[in-house]
Homo-oligomer: 432 residues x 2
Amino acid sequence: MPNPGDKVQITTKKETVEGILMPSFDNNTIILKLETGYNIGFNKKDVAKITLIKKAQEEHKPISPISKNPDLPTIYILHTGGTIASKVDYRTGGVVASFSPEDLIKIFPELNSIANLHSELISKMWSDDLRFKHFTLIAEKIEAQIKKDVNGIIIGMGTDNLAVASAALSFIIEQTPIPILLVGSQRSSDRGSSDAALNLLSAAHLIAHSDFADVAICMHASEQDTDCYLLPATKTYKLHSSRRDAFQPVNTLALAKINYQTKSIQFLTKDYKKRSSLKPIIKPKMEEKVGLLKIHVNMVPEQFSFFEGYKGLIIEGTGLGHTPGQVPNPECEIHKKIYPAIKKLTQSGCVLVMTTQCLYGTVNMNVYDKGRDLLELGIISGEDMLANTALVKLSWLLGNYKPEEVKKLISQNLRGEINLKHQYDTEFVNIK
Amino acid sequence: MPNPGDKVQITTKKETVEGILMPSFDNNTIILKLETGYNIGFNKKDVAKITLIKKAQEEHKPISPISKNPDLPTIYILHTGGTIASKVDYRTGGVVASFSPEDLIKIFPELNSIANLHSELISKMWSDDLRFKHFTLIAEKIEAQIKKDVNGIIIGMGTDNLAVASAALSFIIEQTPIPILLVGSQRSSDRGSSDAALNLLSAAHLIAHSDFADVAICMHASEQDTDCYLLPATKTYKLHSSRRDAFQPVNTLALAKINYQTKSIQFLTKDYKKRSSLKPIIKPKMEEKVGLLKIHVNMVPEQFSFFEGYKGLIIEGTGLGHTPGQVPNPECEIHKKIYPAIKKLTQSGCVLVMTTQCLYGTVNMNVYDKGRDLLELGIISGEDMLANTALVKLSWLLGNYKPEEVKKLISQNLRGEINLKHQYDTEFVNIK
């Protein structure tokens, strides 16, 4: 039986496949790393034959960032934790974030032929634990690297809040001469179905072979392991809890499609920021006292009052941007207290911004009298911004601008977060 | 110039169309009601000619529910408010709910050839103002009508919380011998693009011509004004703030497609409840002290503590069902307090249920150590339930069962709200 690291040929009833044997996480599975970097898993009982092609020769030695190939660009990989570099924890049987960035390079040796790599582990955390201050921290690391003349930056991160982080970094990084791409993995790197390799290699390929220079996300374009999408930093949503193509543009389209196997990059828009010699402009401050409140049936006024003392609050309203609080017929004591609670908040100087839990479409508070009531209470329309994008934008604006400026800028498009072309009747983006 | 109510022929450069002239809401638009019940709007400057075909003759007289046609089934229309029967308020320029149910019948006279109609206005409220107690009220009205031997019930409602109401009614109405269909309208009835007519007529047609007998939603299947979907009461989401086909099944498929023009009803599943002579079983109690908390970056432990004293709380977590609270590296004082705040809630007897803000896909708290931590804190998986469905289910369970039963039943499929066939790798439903 060959050992992990050996090059082998596996024969099943259906196919014959060549690749590097990977460590398996159970006794029933054989995992092979294909030349594309993609891992493929076989059920052991389906494997008719394993043939050794080449013994591993001192494989997996750490790649030294010093052995620089002058013909290749330099990419800085900043690792923050999450599935993209996780391995199975044999103690608990689950997946934990534990690989170091060096391990990351070991798992994806193809990276070495795309670029000279630098890497850094700045935290080992699930993206669920991200706070505003972490965006500041990541942005400062990015700024330091841009000044070191790297050609692009890849940020490995857990997927749960990856789209939120990309939006935050998009506001913080007002100007960048190089691309800054967030990649994640919906499936652990040592699972046969992991999407980690394609996401990471596609991001590196885009950095090495295109003029794109902005903050964006690089994730699977479909369930197939062929294409990745370059997705807009402020208008992407994790729309499925486990699918590899969970990341979908909302109220807009993907920026580009990358096929790593055929080495093609197809931009789907001409409207993207390009490489330049401009100096980076980073405004890393985030205001901590900003919250988010999702509207639902049976709300109580105290859910608004909770945010007294906050400087900003995103409301994830219903439909075109509504909350309860109109006194219905028959009258209701609780409803009578909701609008006054909202008014008290806005009058205290807290900036209240309306978004919609419909996800697709835009807020429009001028259509119904309910919406106009809320405008009168001082709530500002968040237009077609995703609620989480509005949240980090509001925190960022309050960290860097005066309240009166914040109230104007929140409804203006700064980073593509408001799509003015997208109006009342715009089509759904087809998510299949 | 013909008057509203007259049958006319309108000629533009592109087409010639016949229909009943409707009252227009501005001076630039001419609205025509086609034979299908659909309203079509023309820009006045595009209209080359208007020819009077037939003067209105004593039109729009109220339809008396007493003039019963013994060959037609009887449908009870219960009106709660919302766009489905709203008209333009000329004072403010917006749309307000103000038509009585009799007006509804005036606007959609085709209803009279489908069924004998009874109607009742039980409230004039936007669905945004719905509270749990309103679901109880509506269910009691429904029960009374079922006992009067009507053949089906249509509930007209604002769309913002229509899918939430359908889920609540689905739990409350444990058994029904007749269909109970919720219909709404994304566009006001006197706008040229209104979807009210097709939704209402399709629902009535389904009641008159199928064996379906359950709670469900009837709304546009596409942007075209041709087909409606019959949608599952507990797994439908308003996925767009304004589109006519905003209502989409999530983690499942539509139940049927109804084409009112061709009078065809195509069931997409055999797995639906059929008409019977069974007595209705209504369990109308809802527990008031049930809340919903959406997870986002920068959460504070007090957002969990807020719900102390509540009997139930739905958490709309990230990804496979996560919250912040693992102490990251570097350590964070706020994170240290989140898990204890959650534990205090579960230990107080509050039932905490995890759903996912990804919308598509299922909660699976066994994949990552973070999920397993949350299970240990006493949070129960809501599987692939929509957060709002889980909210009304939990309120209903707590109103009717003992806490220990509630904790078991919340993860079990009672009304199609948990789709056991839908697992980790299930496809997105194609929303286009």
